[in-house]
Structure formats: C-alpha cells, structure tokens
Amino acid sequence: MQQVLGARPAERRPKSRWHAHLHGSDLVWAIAFLAPYAAVFLGFVVYPIGFALWLAARPSLYAQLWTDPIYRSAVVNTLLFVGVGVNVKMFGALLLSGFFMRRDWWVKAILVAYILPWLAAATQAFMSVHWMLIDELGLVDRLLSVTFGVAGLNWLDSRWLALACNITAYVWKWMPFWTLILLAGRMAIPPSIYDAAEVDGATGIRRFTHVTFPLVANLYLVCTLLSTLWTFGDFATVYFVSGGGPLNTSQVLTTLGFHYAFDAAQPGLGVAVAMSALPLLIPVVIVLMRWSQASEGEL
C-alpha cells in the first residue's frame, strides 16, 4: 500500500536489510525471537483448527444441517449480516473519513464522540442497544412517540427487523475503527496531488471519484476483506442485540454453532455449523495472502 500512497521514507530504504545470510548467534537469536509466536501458532491455532476439522469431519452432520430450517435461515442471515454490514460500514467509513479530514475544532470534537462506540466494550454496548429496542418502553420507541407521536415497532419480534437491528448495531460499533484506518490512508495522500487535480478542474465529487478513491482503493479493499473475515466470526452483536430471536430465526452461524454445541450439547453439529463457512472464508484469506506477498515484493 505504501507504494501507492507515496510513502516517502520507504523510497530511501536500501535493498538489504540486515545482511543476506544469518549465521552463528544471529541465527540462534532469530529462532529464539520467533519461538514464542511459533508456540502460540502450533498450540492455539494449528491444534484447535485441526481438532475442529476432525470434530466436524462426518458428512452426515452436513446432511443433517441441510435439512434443518434454522440452519438454512442462519446461512441467509449470515450472508446478509456480513454482506450488508461490512459494505455499509466500510462505505460509511470511507465517506465519514472525508468529513473528519476537516480541520474545524468542532469536527475534531465530534470525532472524539464518534470513536466512543469502538472504545466501549461490546457486551455492555450491545446490551444497551437491546434495551433501546425491546418494546414500546425502549428508548427508540419512546422517543418516536414523544417527539413525533408515532407508534414504534416491535423491533425484535420479527426476523427481518431483528436482523436489521443487528446489522445497524454492528455498523454503529465497528465503523469508527475503520474510519480511523481510512483517515490514515487519506492523510497519507500528499496535498500536492490535490493541488494538481484542482488545476485540472477536479473538485467536489469528481475529486473524490478521480483522485481520492483511486488512491485509497487498495487500502479500502484490504480493509473490506479483513473486516469480512472478522464479521463472519462476530458473536456479541447477534447474541446480545437480538439474542438470535424470535424463535432462532435471526441466528447467524457463530451464535447458532454456539447454541448447538453448548445449549443443545451437540458439539459435532455445532462445530460443523461454523466449519460450513470455510468455503467462503478461504478464498478471502488467499486474496489477502497474495496482497501481503505482493506488497512485500515491492519494497
């Protein structure tokens, strides 16, 4: 990414970093420095994933899942939660990062308030969202009736509304983090590029589509992919906001897998629910790996 964003310090870097070959004590030190991570990786990544694959290896589990209406609705919910949630969040973050580039003092003050949802702990924040939505006594419905005289909805009593609430709460919590990252990307664009664009008559929306976006597009893509991986694994949002209800219709794969493994005491089935997302996750990881290799080759 740096090469795209014109990172000045990188250009001064000589080709060889330490020296071409390690020997003697340096090699020993390098291995010693890597040992803790290698231990974590083997003990807490390779072993659990291997164990999970072994637990979920029976094909009959997937046949059973496929006939399960709750699982099927959870697949649809997960795709919507990830697809809509990630894209709305990232696009919102991209636009708002432009707003937060402004140097007015009040914009900086708003930025402080804006990142609070990210700094607030997920459990407590989503409980609060749940209570805002519970019924006509929740804050949202009360505000609607007091200020507009509109009768509110039973937000968590229908599958689609509950899913929409989950997605909204998810965007609320995580958009600030990605806004900060994209803000960093925008700040790395040298002002001279904008000045040149202005001379060429690119202002307003044209400046965004022809100058800003092409320069942060790579970063935006990488963030979107990374965020996709993390969102598939998001547990707290659905668990606390809608609780998977009504009647398990707004479950996503993580909460349903948890429900089967612990509440229903069917660990194999629970792990199989989670593993069934792998065909979607693996391509994303491969794209990210190719990106990280490419960016390493550049430097």
């Binding site: 990414m1 637990l55 804006y114 609060s128 803000l183 960093a184 970063l219």
Partner: protein, 296 residues
C-alpha cells in the same frame, strides 16, 4: 483528540454561495453523527444515574428528574445485588486485558523483528501464518478451545482466556508491525551492528523505540479485543474467584429484575480503562496515522 492536521489547502477563502451550503451540510452531518454515536451511550447514562434500581424504561424526561449516584455507590461499594464482588471481577478483567496486551506486544514485536529486520528468510510466511489464523474466526473455535484447555490443564484458569485472546490479537499486531517496519530506515540498526551490538540489544534499544506508533496501535487493539470478549470468558471460566465483570453483566442481562442502575454504572466504569488508554496513547497513534496507511 488532536489527530495530526490534514494537509493544508492554502489560499482559498473566496466567498461562494455553494460554500455556505457545504458548511450547512457539514454541520447537519456532524449533528447526525453525534446523535448516532451517542444515543446508546446516552441510554446507559440515563439508567445509571437513575435513583431507583428498577427502571430501564425511558420515562420521557431527557435527564433523570433526580439524578443520583446510587447506582455507582451500589457497584463501587459492592452492595448492589450481583455486584458483591465488583472489585475482584474488575481486577480479573483488568488482569486479562493487560496480560493480553503485554504478551501480544512482546510476541508480535519479537516475531516481526526476527522476520522483518533480521531477515531470517523471505518474511512472507510470517504474515501468511498470521492471516491463516483468521481463516477460522475465533468464535468458531470456542468448542475446540473448551476441550483443549482441559488437555492443557487450564480449565477455569484466567491464563486460558489470555492465551486465546493473545492468539487472535498477535496476527493483527504482526500485520501492523511488519507493514510499519517497512517504513523505517535500517541505517541505525546497521550502524549498531558494526559497533558490535547484539540482536537483543538492537531489538530493545533501537527497534522498539522506533516502533512506538505501531506498538501503540497494537496495544489498543489487543486491549480492546480482550475487553470486548465475553464468549471465551463465559466458556472457559467458572469459579466465583475467576468471574469477570463482562460475565456478571451478561448474567444481569439474563435476569428480569436486576439492579439496573448499578449494572449500568458498572458498565460505565468498565468502559473507562480503554478510553483512558486510547487518549493516553493518542499522540503515538496520531504519529502512525501521519506516517502513512498503517495496515495497507
């Protein structure tokens, strides 16, 4: 928060009607963002400052008629129901969070140094391994971890939770540090090597100080990961002495008639440490923001 000033666009102050419209739009957007961000937090404050413990309904008042600190005293004095062990549980949460943060920084920076700076081999495999960790999201592995912690003799042990949080925080720390390390000059390290400095000396005296901005980002990220976690704490911890504040709050959440004001007050107290860390580190975080795209 004073994130470093964005690039200046000099000399453009001519009055244009469009400009007034843009400013008005910006103010409206700002107000919208403010309401959007603060509404759930405002909801927490309303309940926390309520004098009675029984209400979470919005009474129609913008602010409690008689704001009260009863909820906070109930939590801090450990006499609200469920919160009899508030300080012990808070300490457990802090212990998990801080241990996760320090271990993540240590393991991540050592690995990034070995691969990125010592050039052990083509460094690509390290970031690949880091990304591979995210192939199976952490919450998908909760049941395997539940079983494995028994194998490791870590059942009902705070160390088990810390291990899982470190596992999922280190990959991001490595991605950040390897990328950030590419922006740093190597001349200092090469000069130190010529003077006979050993690898640990260079790591400690030169690499870590230069990496402060990336370390700040990894620190806040890993603390928040552990702070946000409820799933692993709930599954891996059980005995009274190991319960964390998140677990108690989820338990309160499941009750139909808990002391709401004390619960929300404890939620506010729980939110303070990451906020304090973020604002404590904001200068370093801003430095990494201006250095360039951090994770890109």
């Amino acid at each position: 928060m004073s994130i470093a000033a964005p690039p200046m666009h000099p000399a453009r102050r001519r009055f244009r009607p469009g400009r007034v419209l843009t400013e008005a739009g910006a103010v409206a957007l700002g107000i919208g963002v403010l309401i959007w961000s603060l509404l759930p937090i405002y909801n927490v404050l309303l309940v926390a400052f309520d004098a009675s413990e029984g209400t979470i309904e919005f009474s129609g008042n913008i602010w409690p008629a008689v704001p009260s600190l009863a909820g906070f005293w109930g939590a801090l004095g450990e006499h609200a129901r469920y919160l009899e062990h508030f300080w012990r549980q808070f300490a457990n949460s802090v212990y998990i969070g801080v241990a996760t943060m320090l271990l993540t920084l240590l393991i991540g920076s050592l690995a990034s140094f070995a691969v990125g700076r010592m050039r052990l081999s083509r460094g690509g495999w390290l970031t690949n391994a880091a990304l591979l960790t995210y192939t199976v999201p952490s919450s998908f592995l909760i049941f395997p971890f539940y079983k494995i912690m028994f194998d490791y003799g870590l059942e009902d042990n705070l160390g088990a939770v810390i291990a899982t949080q470190v596992t999922f925080a280190v990959p991001f720390a490595i991605l950040i540090m390897v990328q950030y390390g590419k922006l740093l000059p190597v001349e200092l390290e090469e000069a130190a090597r010529l003077d006979g400095a050993s690898a640990p000396q260079i790591y400690w005296r030169i690499y870590l100080p230069l990496m402060t901005p990336a370390l700040a980002i990894a620190a806040i990220y890993s603390l928040l990961l552990a702070w946000n976690d409820y799933l692993y704490q709930m599954v891996l911890l059980s005995s009274v002495r190991n319960v964390t504040l998140s677990m108690t709050q989820a338990e309160l959440f499941g009750d139909t008639d808990p002391p709401w004001n004390a619960m929300m007050a404890s939620a506010i107290i729980y939110i303070l440490p990451p906020v304090a860390l973020f604002f404590g580190l904001r200068r370093h975080i801003a430095a990494s923001l201006t250095m360039g795209a951090v994770i890109g």
